[in-house]
Symmetry: C2
Subunit: 168 residues, 2 copies
């Protein structure tokens, strides 16, 4: 049986955000253990003109939230990008997971061919529900998850591929 | 209409590998322009005990190839991990895309609930066709794509998010 759109979104995002939460836990524990200022980790960047770990977490959350909001035509829930600490990032993830858990399956399923518009500063990008998930949301979501992983890994946090894949 | 398993695999991988090929082209062009030894880029690592760019490309290709081989019960095609140069990495990607393009849709569709076993050095991991794609193949594929991007981006190659997302 083919795969419902809900199953390509809500559980995928919850799973990924749970993984991200676990990676951040390992980052916070590493900072404590090594006596490192946690802000060194939460502010870590791959290169000076790329966003830090805090923003990677915010973007991952927003990709998940934005996708279900657009596809399900749900009331947008704004979240200010003010998180700086590991605790605040964990709260952002928890809030996003709670929002995802509250999305009724029937708001997502059947929306594969619906028009979904991503509004960007430089114009509107039209998708179908399916193309939005497959060509934008999933690649973008994993981009920010992997970048968060890369930042922690490069800083010496003992995370490995099995932490990224989660309980497969 | 729900999404067929073929559409969650073959076109997703071809799209991602095409993006990866474009990123490598930008890397090669940057090396030429700046007079950098291309091996500095193909051998770049995020940290000393993490695999270099060459391996990230090999792993992305193998995730795609392995997924369709396992789900479609296709004859395995071995590819030695000997690539060192941008040209060799491009050839590996092209060979993998050709293999993907030759996968008949009917070998993948309908295999959602089939047993699919991932053989690892430390034991077998059983999945269904669907869970294999959603919880292993797609996250793992984008992990290696994003890590390749991160390595090029950190080395100064002018790549941006739109290069990663491709023609959305």
């Amino acid at each position: 049986m083919a795969t419902a759109l809900y199953d390509l979104t809500v559980p995928m995002f919850i799973r990924g955000l749970t993984v991200l939460s676990g990676l951040l836990d390992k980052g916070a524990a590493y900072a404590t253990e090594k006596g490192i200022d946690p802000a060194t980790l939460t502010g870590a960047q791959l290169i000076a003109d790329m966003k830090p770990l805090t923003a990677q977490v915010q973007f991952a959350c927003d990709t998940a939230k934005g996708t279900v909001t657009r596809i399900g035509e749900l009331e947008p829930v704004a979240m200010a990008d003010t998180e700086q600490t590991f605790e605040e990032l964990q709260a952002r993830i928890a809030k996003t997971i709670a929002l995802l858990e509250a999305v009724p399956r029937e708001r997502i399923d059947g929306r594969e061919d619906a028009t979904v518009v991503l509004k960007l500063p430089n114009g509107d990008m039209p998708f179908t529900g399916r193309s939005h998930v497959l060509t934008f949301s999933l690649p973008n979501f994993y981009f920010h998850l992997t970048t968060a992983y890369a930042l922690l890994r490069q800083a010496g946090v003992p995370v490995g591929k099995s932490d990224f894949l989660g309980g497969v």
